[in-house]
Symmetry: C2
Subunit: 433 residues, 2 copies
C-alpha cells in the first residue's frame, strides 16, 4: 500500500495501479463502515458533530495556518501564479470563514428521512419513498483548501462518508483541515473515517478512485478541463460532473436598455473566472441600443470578439473565429453575435451552450416564457445575471458543485443532491396473485 | 456505415468499431432532432400520437405476426429452449396486449412540465424546478419483443427519443413492431426518428451505443449478467442499471405463522424467474414454526439449501455452500439461514443483498420499522411478498426496469425516472452584488 507521497511524473505503472487499488479499497471499506454508523445518527447528532468540527478548525487554527504556509512557500518555489497562490493562501479571517461555513451547513435542514411521496394501493399496500444518504462519495478537486471543509461538511450533513482527493499544491493544508474535522466529528460521536483524505498525491490513486465502483457510490470532480477529461475517460463510478460554463445572454428587441446593460456587464464582468460568467452575448438585430450595449462592456474593460454584424457596432470589436462560440474564456473576453429574433437566438444556444446557464433580457413576458421553456440548460433565466448561478444564491445554503449532466441532479447541487431514496412498503401479509 | 445485419462472432475489429460509431452517431443525431420536436409537443399531442401507435400495431398485426413467425422458426433452428421460444412467440392475444399496453401508457399523466419546487429569494428572484425530458435514451435488451413497444411508448410519453437495440432472436419481430410504432407516431405529428432501432445485430454497435456520450443521455440495459457486465465495463454514457435481484425475506420471531408461510411461498414460488423473487430466507432462531415454514416451501416444489441450523429443520434440506448466499437462482431453489434476531438478519442482508428488494415478516410494529429504516435496498418491505417489486404493482402504470444503482432513480423506474429537471429563474433585472 502506498502511504507516502510519491509523485509520478507520467504514466501509472502496473505496480502503482495495484497498490492504488488496494489503498482505495481500504479507504472505501473504512468509509462504508463509518457511513453505516452515520446513517443511524439523528439530525441533531449530525448537526452537533458538525458544530464540533467547526470548533476544531478554530481550535487548530495555528496548525492549519502553519501547514498552509508550507504549501504557499512550496507553491512560490514551484512558480505558481499570484492568482493560484491567492486561492491557496489562508489567513485567520479566511479560516474563520471556513469554520463558519461548516456551522452554516450544520444549521441546514437534514434532508434524510423526508418522505418524498406516498400512496396506498388497492390491495392495501402502503408505499412511500423516503430520502436516504447516497453512501460513500469521492470528491476530486484542485487547489482551494476551503473545499476540503465545505465538501466534507455537506457530505456528512446528508449522512454520507466522503473520500477527498485534493490538489498537490494544498496537501499540507488539506491534511491539517481534515485532521481537525475528523477530530471534531469523532468528539461528536461520528466515526473519524466518515471523512478521509487520500494519503498520496500519486495520480494512480485518482484512477483507482474512479474505478472503485464496488466501494464508492458517486464521484464529484471539481476542477479544470484536464481533470474532467480524465474522469470522463476513466470513471466506472457514477459521476456528478461539472463541465464547462459556456453561458449566453440574449438581449431581446424588447429589452429595457438600462436593464440589458446592467445585466450584461454584471454577467460578464462581476467575476470573470466563475462558471456562471457570460461568455457569449446574443443581441437581437432589432434591439435599438446595440452599440451602447457593447460600448458599456468595452468601457468596463471587456475585450469583445464579434460576428460580422457585431463588428459593425463598434470599431473596438475584433472578428470572432469559429472556435470563439465554443470557448469558455473565464476572463474579460466576450464573443458577441447579432441574431434575427428569438428562434435564431435559440438555435445559437442549442448549437453552442454547454447546458450550464443561459439567460434572456426582455420586457416581453411571453417571449421570456418561450425562452425559459425552450432552452434546455440546467439553469435558464429571464432578466437576471447569469452570475446568480450558485447554490448560495439559490438558497441551498452551500453547494458541492454545479452539475451540467442530465441525471440525478442538475444545476447547483447541495444536500438534496447528496441523497437518494428508497421505497418502503408496509403490508399486512399481501401476496401477489 | 453498416446498414446490413452482419453478425460478428467475436471481437470487434477496428473497422467495425469505426463503422459502428458512425452508425450510432447518425442514429443519435436523428434522435436528437426528433426529440427537439417532441419536446415542443403538448401532453394531449403525445397521448394522441401514442394511441395512433397502438392502433398501428393492431393494423399491422398480420405483418408483425408473420415477422415473429420467422424469428420463432429461426429460433427453433438455432435450438433455443422452449422457455426462450415462449418468451419470443407472439400471437393475436399477446399482440393485442402489447397494443393495449401502449394505450395504457398514453393514458398515464405526463410528467413533463410539472413544477417540482419553487421559491422566492430575498432579492426577488423567482426560482422553480420544472420537470423536462432526459433527451435521447438508449435501451439494450434481450429477447422479449414486447419490450420494443413498452420501452418506446414510455420514452415518448415522457418526451424522450429512444434508440432501441434488441436481441438477435427477435430481430424481425422488433423491426415490424418498430415500423408500426413509427408510422403511428408520425401520423400523430411526432417524428418517426423519435423511435429508432439499431439496424444491425453487430456487437460493435452495442459498444458504440455505450460510448456515445455526446449523443445519448442515458442507457438502460435490460438483460442478463453478460450484458450487464459489458455495460459496466464499457459504458461512457450514464447507465440506469438493473443488476441482480438477490432478495431476502426475514421471518422474525414475532411473525404470524400463516402470514409467514403465505408470504414466503409466494415470494419464492409465484414466479421463480423474476428479479423480485426471494432467493434467501432468513428464519429467526426464536421463530417457533421454522420446520413448518421450510416444509411448506419444499412441499411447494422448492429445493432448499441450508446452513447448519437450517439443515436440522428438515431432512430434505441440503447443505448450502458459501456461494449460495450470493446466488440469484431464478428457479425453484432457495437458500435458508437461521439467524439470531434482527441484528443478525440485518448483518446477513448487508453482506449479501444486491440492494433490490428485502422484506421482513413480523407482527411487531417496532421491529418492522427498524427493518424498514435499517435496510438500505431500493425496496424494503414489511409483511408483503417481494414479488410485488414491480412498476405496475406500485401504481406507476408501467416500468422501464428496476434500478439497483443509487443515483437518479431507484427501484421501479417509470415515467418520472425518464425525466430530469431544469431551474427556471425569473427576475426583474437583478444583478449579483
Amino acid at each position: 500500500m502506498i502511504m507516502q507521497e510519491t509523485i509520478s511524473a507520467q504514466g501509472d505503472t502496473a505496480p502503482d495501479t495495484a497498490d492504488a487499488d488496494d489503498l482505495i479499497a481500504t479507504l472505501a471499506a473504512n468509509a462504508r463502515a463509518a457511513q453505516r454508523v452515520l446513517a443511524g445518527k439523528s439530525d441533531a447528532d449530525k448537526a452537533a458533530a458538525l458544530r464540533k468540527a467547526a470548533q476544531a478548525l478554530r481550535d487548530h487554527a495555528k496548525a492549519i495556518l502553519s501547514a498552509n504556509a508550507q504549501d504557499v512557500t512550496k507553491g512560490e518555489d514551484r512558480g505558481l501564479t499570484s492568482a493560484m497562490l491567492d486561492r491557496l493562501r489562508l489567513d485567520e479571517a479566511r479560516l474563520a470563514g471556513i469554520a463558519d461555513a461548516v456551522d452554516q451547513v450544520a444549521a441546514l435542514p437534514d434532508p434524510v428521512g423526508e418522505t418524498i411521496a406516498s400512496s396506498e394501493r388497492p390491495n392495501g399496500l402502503q408505499l412511500s419513498r423516503v430520502r436516504v444518504p447516497i453512501g460513500v462519495i469521492g470528491i476530486i478537486y484542485e487547489s482551494r483548501p476551503n473545499v476540503t471543509a465545505d465538501a466534507a461538511a455537506l457530505c456528512v450533513r446528508a449522512g454520507n462518508a466522503v473520500i477527498l482527493r485534493g490538489g498537490s499544491e494544498a496537501v499540507n493544508s488539506n491534511r491539517a483541515i481534515l485532521a481537525a474535522l475528523a477530530e471534531g466529528l469523532a468528539a461528536g460521536g461520528i466515526p473519524a473515517h466518515a471523512v478521509q483524505l487520500v494519503p498520496t498525491q500519486d495520480r494512480a490513486a485518482v484512477g483507482a478512485l474512479l474505478r472503485a465502483a464496488d466501494g464508492v457510490d458517486m464521484i464529484v470532480p471539481r476542477g479544470g478541463k484536464s481533470l474532467v477529461a480524465r474522469v470522463q475517460a476513466e470513471a466506472r463510478v457514477p459521476v456528478l460532473a461539472h463541465l464547462d460554463g459556456i453561458c449566453h445572454t440574449y438581449v431581446h428587441c424588447a429589452a429595457d436598455q438600462a436593464m440589458a446593460e446592467a445585466v450584461a456587464v454584471n454577467a460578464k464582468m462581476r467575476r470573470t473566472g466563475i462558471c456562471g460568467a457570460m461568455e457569449t452575448l446574443l443581441i437581437d438585430a432589432a434591439y435599438p441600443h446595440a452599440s451602447d450595449l457593447v460600448g458599456k462592456l468595452i468601457d468596463a474593460g471587456c475585450a469583445v470578439r464579434g460576428d460580422g454584424r457585431a463588428c459593425a457596432l463598434d470599431t473596438r470589436i475584433t472578428p470572432a473565429n469559429a472556435g470563439d462560440w465554443d470557448t469558455e474564456y473565464l476572463e474579460a473576453v466576450l464573443s458577441v453575435a447579432v441574431v434575427d429574433g428569438l428562434d435564431a437566438a435559440l438555435a445559437h444556444i442549442t448549437a453552442h451552450s454547454s447546458g450550464h446557464t443561459d439567460a434572456i433580457v426582455t420586457s416581453d413576458a411571453e417571449t421570456a416564457e418561450q425562452f425559459l421553456n425552450a432552452v434546455d440548460s440546467a439553469i435558464v433565466m429571464a432578466n437576471a445575471s447569469s452570475q446568480f448561478a450558485d447554490g448560495g444564491e439559490f438558497g441551498l445554503g452551500a453547494e458541492i458543485g454545479i452539475a451540467t449532466g442530465r441525471l440525478h441532479a442538475r444545476g447547483p447541487v447541495a444536500l438534496e443532491g447528496l441523497t437518494t431514496y428508497k421505497w418502503q412498503v408496509r403490508g399486512t401479509g399481501q401476496t401477489r396473485p
